[in-house]
Symmetry: C2
Subunit: 157 residues, 2 copies
């Protein structure tokens, strides 16, 4: 089984690729056992699609890769705490565990129009079975915002 | 300006089209002034995409139609109270007002694996400016679940 930290490194690498291509600083990966099913970065700007967060892109790719709408037994690594859109999407997909690095507060500080709802609250209030683990390579994940903030062509939303 | 009830009728009509094509019973429309920017039904099953709820499809289409990631000044009619994924997506898109018919409890009763988080709570806890109005043609919207439950080929998720 691929280790969560290893999966997070792939997500960080993909997020950097996205930043360098003018996208916002988020990456997400999905794996089942040894198989990496999806590696995606945010493409809101590139595809003019406000829903194209890294997690949504990864879920769509994971569904396509497996031919299934449910990704049971999968683990997910995402460079930032999922917003309620992404956390609920991960619930719908029935993934097993979601590992994240930076926090919603970090994304908010970088200028994003975040809903102030912790991912853990979405799961707890909603009665979800999805497990959530934060603070995975969080310093490296926070550095993604720094890298992005250095770009003069960045677009915030 | 197109009236919310009129916009909801278009969403209901689209949802029926979806049900008759084997999709789950949800429809969503987006308008700005007199212009209807998007009319979509849920395509989770058709496209093997767990994120393809009616509202997400409508937002993606609305972004494509306008060439913009933000849909400010838009009103949205959706046949069912948005789940947290869809409610947060509508927040990200900065729509003005969301009108809905049936409730999350109705979708839950029909068998969907709903997170038990009212859309109003996502907005209130999150500090969103999006306005939300329920109970619009709710009887007609609840009838969509009845129509869908009569189909032997229905897929719940």
């Amino acid at each position: 089984m691929i280790e969560p930290v290893e999966l997070m490194r792939l997500a960080i690498k993909k997020a950097i690729e996205g930043i360098d291509a003018g996208q916002s600083p988020f990456g997400c990966t999905i794996a089942r056992g040894d198989d990496v099913l999806a590696i995606s970065h945010n493409t809101v700007v590139a595809t003019t699609d406000i829903t194209a967060h890294a997690e949504i892109n990864a879920l769509r790719l994971g569904c396509k890769t497996t031919g299934q709408i449910h990704l049971e037994g999968c683990i997910v690594a995402t460079t930032c705490e999922p917003c309620p859109m992404c956390m609920a999407a991960l619930h719908w997909a029935r993934v097993e565990t979601v590992y994240f690095g930076a926090s919603i507060a970090d994304a908010d500080a970088a200028g994003f129009n975040e809903l102030q709802v912790p991912a853990a609250d979405v799961l707890k209030i909603g009665g979800s079975k999805v497990a959530l683990v934060g603070d995975v390579l969080s310093a490296e994940c926070r550095d993604l915002f720094k890298r992005w903030l250095e770009r003069s062509d960045r677009i915030v939303y």
